[in-house]
């Protein structure tokens, strides 16, 4: 399908594909097996400007938006969903700063992020606050010299590997979600340590773990935006980042589809390649249709985000939900086409299926997002009545 990308977008996409094929493909199975953080690949991505893609030009970025980020994420995910997660979460950890940070904060951090010298992470989830993000308990008490942070964040991508963390905390416990604020914390701040590193089903090249704060003092100037706006900032951030999860899902689905077509072409049963079987053709065609439809929706949502439109919750949720469900279905069917071989760890399709699952869960479980879409439908209906 022709998506009428600009020269710059095409360049970004094809360079990301080249890095994925030359650098990630040869090691993806090993990274997955060993749950190894892909530092060498991070360096290659950084050297090729990939971390500049989502940073504004004033701060040494390329000034791209959601669509450019999606193109990179899609291409990396086509080869490895785990490496793509590690990369993409840097945008998540930077957006709040880009959007609400002061000039001074941006000058201090964004050029290093753009150069890939310092990785970032975003932390909102806690043991009791997953889909219900407003249930966070971590506190930041105003003290002399700044804020005293206490609490534990859970399931945080890039935990321990990133150097810069955007953390959503309660600066006012009495006000619930309205007392939440976004605070920037640097690694190695006293009182900030890392807890358990999780062992995961998929995206195993990415690091997921706990952030533990015990009387961690951060200076006042690390507050991003205003106190009390943290929850709204987070919701807005996810509206902008969800097409990226969609792009990850599209990439994983694309990778699985290609594997399935390759296999079906090679695998001979009953004297013919199995791709000559109508039942297999039907599966492959359906996978291709679903993947392309998901891509179209993701790109459209990303373009809407980049247009600066304010109400994007519904569209961005649609892109994430649809694409992630497609990724799960396509990887499952790709494995089915590959049969017993597909089920074996020597073949990459089972990894793709494991990697796909998380896209239905993180950055808003698909059920929660369907709720959000339905809420918009009801609101619109109410307006016309």
């Amino acid at each position: 399908m022709e998506y009428f990308l600009t020269e710059e977008q095409k360049t970004i996409k094809s360079l990301a594909r080249r890095i994925a094929e030359e650098k990630i493909l040869p090691v993806r199975a090993e990274l997955d097996e060993k749950e190894e953080f892909p530092w060498a690949i991070i360096k290659d991505l950084a050297d090729a400007d990939m971390f500049r893609v989502f940073i504004p030009e004033e701060y040494e970025g390329l000034g791209g938006g959601c669509l450019e980020l999606c193109l990179v994420v899609e291409e990396l995910s086509r080869v490895c969903g785990g490496v793509a997660t590690t990369y993409a979460v840097n945008a998540l950890g930077s957006y709040t700063l880009i959007e609400y940070g002061t000039e001074e904060q941006k000058r201090k951090y964004l050029p290093d992020i753009a150069a890939g010298k310092r990785l970032t992470a975003f932390a909102i989830s806690e043991a009791t606050a997953g889909s219900d993000a407003s249930a966070i308990k971590m506190t930041a008490d105003k003290v002399e010299g700044g804020y005293l942070l206490n609490g534990t964040k859970q399931f945080i991508t890039n935990a321990g590997e990133a150097e810069l963390y955007t953390v959503i905390v309660l600066t006012d416990k009495t006000r619930g979600a309205r007392g939440a604020s976004a605070i920037f914390v640097e690694k190695d701040t006293p009182g900030f340590t890392f807890g358990k590193k999780e062992k995961k089903m998929g995206i195993r090249a990415s690091a997921t773990g706990e952030l533990v704060f015990r009387n961690c003092l951060v200076p006042q100037e690390n507050l991003i935006g205003k106190e009390g706006l943290g929850f709204i900032q987070a919701l807005r951030l996810f509206d902008r980042s969800r097409p990226g999860i969609g792009a990850q899902a599209v990439g994983i689905a694309q990778g699985a589809l290609e594997m399935a077509v390759d296999y079906a072409q090679q695998r001979v049963q009953f004297d013919h390649p199995i791709i000559t079987q109508p039942v297999v053709q039907d599966m492959l065609a359906e996978m291709a249709i679903q993947t392309e439809a998901a891509r179209a929706l993701v790109y459209a949502a990303a373009r809407m985000v980049d247009s600066g439109a304010r109400k994007i919750t519904e569209e961005s949720a649609m892109a994430k939900v649809f694409a992630s469900d497609v990724a799960m279905r396509v990887t499952t069917d790709a494995l089915q086409v590959c049969g017993g071989t597909g089920y074996m760890k020597d073949y990459p399709v089972e990894k793709m299926m494991r990697d796909a699952k998380i896209t239905q869960i993180y950055e808003g479980a698909n059920q929660i997002l369907r709720n959000a879409i339905a809420v918009e439908l009801r609101k619109r209906k109410a307006k016309t009545e």
């Binding site: 020269e7 710059e8 360049t11 970004i12 360079l15 080249r18 890095i19 290659d44 050297d47 090729a48 400007d49 990939m50 500049r52 893609v53 390329l62």
Partner: protein, 261 residues
């Protein structure tokens, strides 16, 4: 330290088909790439420039589409691209090619060192580097896997051999051809790719270089292509049965019949 890197644009596949009527390679629909060995030469040139200063000039002889390869080399860090292009150059063998390139280098390039890939993936003669050095009357070393030392006057290079290696001291100006162990080429950056998209590549033709038509292209090439064919991989398998001694005898007989031994 001024470095000239020679590069060739080649078909990006090993699955090239031959047009049996014209005896030429079918290039339509096949993406062209920089000869992979040459990317190591570019990287080494850029690294030397980063250490010693100076300029890296990439030079290629070929049709105008080879501009893309030169642009890519610039996106990888080279300073300038020079294309030698003229219908009169077509059909050149390695002798005519190196004569043409050497004449252009003499006329247009200031250099301390010339870097070439050890071979190309399309014709694979490994002749261009050494012949170029002969035309330029400078020393050369082939199959270099590392540069151990370099100063303004000389360099010490490590030449890979089948078993082991050889360290060679060579005075500058010189030409070396490099293999894959010399470095790991970097990726271009997005910004560089976009920047070079509309960069002018300097093109020189026969008259600019100032050589005679008879010395280049097909007429200037003593090599004649007798024929060209697609080699078909024909394998047949025979399983011999019987006592080990008999099988061995039969195997030897068959191998002799097939002129293998």
């Amino acid at each position: 330290m001024n470095v000239v890197v020679c590069l060739k644009q080649v078909p990006g596949t090993t699955q090239v088909k031959i047009d049996l009527e014209t005896n030429t390679l079918i290039r339509e629909g096949i993406e062209n790439i920089i000869n992979p060995f040459d990317t190591y030469a570019i990287e080494e040139g850029v690294r030397l420039r980063e250490r010693f200063g100076g300029k890296v000039t990439v030079i290629s002889m070929g049709p105008t589409q080879a501009e893309a390869a030169l642009r890519e080399a610039i996106s990888l860090g080279a300073d300038k691209g020079v294309l030698l292009s003229d219908a009169a150059f077509a059909g050149a063998d390695t002798l005519a090619t190196t004569y043409t390139i050497s004449a252009a280098i003499k006329r247009f390039c200031n250099f301390d060192l010339i870097l070439c890939g050890n071979e190309t993936i399309d014709s694979g003669t490994s002749q261009v580097g050494p012949q170029l050095a002969e035309f330029l009357n400078i020393p050369h070393v082939t199959n270099v896997g590392a540069i151990d030392h370099m100063d303004e006057k000389e360099l010490i290079v490590v030449r890979s051999l089948d078993r082991g290696y050889m360290k060679i001291r060579v005075s500058l100006p010189a030409l070396i051809t490099v293999n894959r162990s010399i470095n790991e080429p970097r990726f271009p950056t997005v910004a560089n790719i976009l920047e070079v998209a509309d960069k002018q590549i300097i093109t020189y033709d026969l008259n600019d270089i100032g050589i005679m038509r008879e010395q280049t292209g097909l007429i200037g090439s003593p090599t004649r292509m007798a024929s060209m064919y697609e080699s078909k991989e024909r394998r047949s398998c025979t399983i011999l049965q019987g006592a080990p001694g008999e099988i061995a005898k039969e195997a030897v007989t068959k191998l002799k019949q097939a002129h293998v031994i």
